[in-house]
């Protein structure tokens, strides 16, 4: 990828993470790594976001929250599971309240391993997510065009 076509906005949700990956996600946004120079902005609003970063696995209490945030995001959207807990449950996989990776609840596109995931690999994950976002955008546009052709809507048809 030689240049960015889009400034991706990310939303970050902390599942049952131990904070290790959370502070690394925040560290990406601060001066040493500074992804904001690429136009990556952290937003608190799911409706503005393109990429959902989830750290930590899901449990009975937060699965609805994860599901809701995912559903409130506009299409096309990409989910990045940051850290080994979000990928498979990691060291906590055997705990009674851990259901496993985030992919048990929502479809995950990019997995970033590591405990805690390093900022470099998180940025790498976001860059991979951008390619997938572009693919999804193209596919969505094609689907919409097809649907419009198949069912031509005009005012005369409506009445």
């Amino acid at each position: 990828m030689s240049f960015l076509k889009k400034s991706p906005w990310i939303i970050h949700y902390d599942g049952t993470s131990c904070n290790g990956c959370d502070i690394e996600v925040l560290a990406c946004l601060t001066p040493l790594y500074d992804v904001e120079r690429f136009g990556v902005v952290n937003t608190g609003n799911p409706k503005h976001a393109d990429i959902l970063l989830i750290t930590g696995s899901v449990n009975e209490q937060n699965k609805d929250v994860v599901w809701q945030i995912f559903n409130q995001m506009a299409n096309p959207k990409v989910v990045v599971a940051v850290g080994i807990c979000a990928t498979s449950g990691g060291i906590f996989a055997e705990c009674y309240n851990v259901m496993g990776g985030v992919d048990k609840i929502i479809p995950v596109d990019v997995y970033v391993p590591g405990c805690a995931a390093r900022p470099e690999s998180i940025i790498d994950g976001v860059v991979k997510a951008l390619d997938i976002l572009e693919e999804k955008r193209v596919a969505l546009a094609r689907r919409r065009r097809k649907a419009r052709k198949a069912r031509p809507v005009s005012l005369t048809n409506l009445f």
């Binding site: 970050h12 949700y13 902390d14 599942g15 049952t16 993470s17 131990c18 904070n19 290790g20 990956c21 959370d22 502070i23 690394e24 996600v25 925040l26 560290a27 601060t30 001066p31 040493l32 937003t43 608190g44 799911p46 930590g56 696995s57 449990n59 209490q61 937060n62 929250v65 945030i69 060291i91 906590f92 055997e94 705990c95 009674y96 309240n97 851990v98 405990c115 805690a116 390093r118």
Partner: protein, 359 residues
């Protein structure tokens, strides 16, 4: 009387990186009551002792919280060592203290940044986190990890730090102290910062005592309680006084944490000066039998480790009472009667660590 309404705060909120949910009962703009609901980060890792051996459980203990990760591992190790009567070598104790104090600096700097972000001073947030990266670099060179570094083990530590690196750490801290001075002056003297912090969320000395606040929250209300004075690890050889402020508001809590950063730097210098030569770990045999309470001072306050062992390689019970858990009643106390706009400020000044609280 005006109409009451409920404003939900969290679990996904821009101010907090972590999920906690508060139902704020409002009358106009005043908070009458705050009802917390928790469990978003509950993993149930205390029960993992039944599945992991006691030597392996150190890794789980370190992952209770990624911010004070080292001190969690240290607390667990100390408890098991005390049950098994293992004498940790002096050098290992000094090294533990060094890493613990570095963790405190990193945690407090991170907190200062988040506080600045909460009152909308973004450049200050960025500067705090820029300084914090220097501490993380020290962690990376000495242990290999940035936030979680599994360097503590039962009987000592895994890695040694050579003389030149120790000197280098002090040089980095000396340089950092000058930059830090500029930064903390903004927190202490800036008019707009004071406007958001002074007189907000006052917790009196009596109230702090009654609700059982711990750590900087308690010390900001004028109670000098610091678990490091108990003299675990190498603190018995070091010279320091607990940092105390008397006002009990958000400003005082900020001051306590700022002064603690300088105190930690001082402690690290003492550590480097007094560090003896020798072994870094003690070999041990056998299984633990018995029980033990261990109290430690974390960046957020006192943590209690309770370990019960039955003579096999699996422990009976590990219980962790973390500082944020104890500070939640204090938070609910200060939230009553405050303005809605001040809520993020209050929530942040207890320095919440939800993954510690719910484990």
């Amino acid at each position: 009387m005006s109409k009451r309404s409920i404003v939900p705060f969290g679990p996904q909120h821009p101010v907090l990186p972590e999920p906690i949910h508060l139902d704020l009962v409002l009358e106009d703009e005043k908070v009458v009551e705050a009802i917390p609901s928790i469990g978003f980060v509950h993993r149930g890792l205390e029960k993992l002792v039944e599945k992991k051996e006691f030597t392996e459980y150190v890794y789980v203990a370190e992952r209770i919280c990624g911010i004070c990760s080292f001190m969690h591992g240290m607390g667990y190790c100390q408890a098991v060592e005390n049950i098994m009567d293992i004498k940790v070598p002096d050098r290992a104790e000094y090294l533990r203290t060094l890493w613990a104090e570095l963790s405190r600096i990193h945690s407090h700097l991170m907190w200062l940044g988040l506080l600045a972000d909460a009152f909308g001073f973004e450049s200050l947030f960025m500067h705090c986190w820029r300084l914090r990266e220097q501490i993380l670099d020290i962690f990376e060179t000495t242990t290999g990890g940035r936030v979680i570094f599994s360097v503590c083990k039962i009987g000592g530590v895994r890695k040694d730090i050579d003389k030149d690196t120790l000197k280098g750490i002090v040089t980095i801290l000396d340089k950092m102290q000058k930059e830090l001075k500029e930064l903390t002056d903004v927190f202490i003297e800036d008019y707009s910062v004071q406007h958001r912090l002074v007189g907000v969320g006052v917790l009196t000395k009596q109230e702090a005592h009654d609700v059982g606040a711990v750590g900087p929250m308690m010390r900001a209300s004028g109670i000098a309680q610091d678990m490091r004075m108990l003299g675990y690890a190498a603190y018995k050889y070091l010279d320091f006084e607990p940092v105390v402020e008397n006002d009990g508001d958000c400003y005082a809590r900020t001051l306590v944490r700022i002064r603690e950063i300088y105190q930690s730097m001082n402690l690290i210098r003492q550590c480097v000066e007094k560090m003896p030569e020798g072994e870094i770990e003690e070999k041990f045999k056998g299984m633990p039998q018995g029980e033990r309470y261990e109290r430690l001072e974390q960046p957020r306050g006192e943590v209690i480790y309770y370990v019960k062992a039955n003579g096999t390689k699996f422990l009976d019970r590990v219980r962790v009472r973390t500082p944020t858990f104890t500070n939640v009643p204090a938070l609910l106390k200060v939230l009553q009667g405050c303005e809605l706009a001040d809520v993020p400020m209050m929530v942040l000044t207890i320095d919440p660590c939800i993954s510690c609280t719910e484990r």
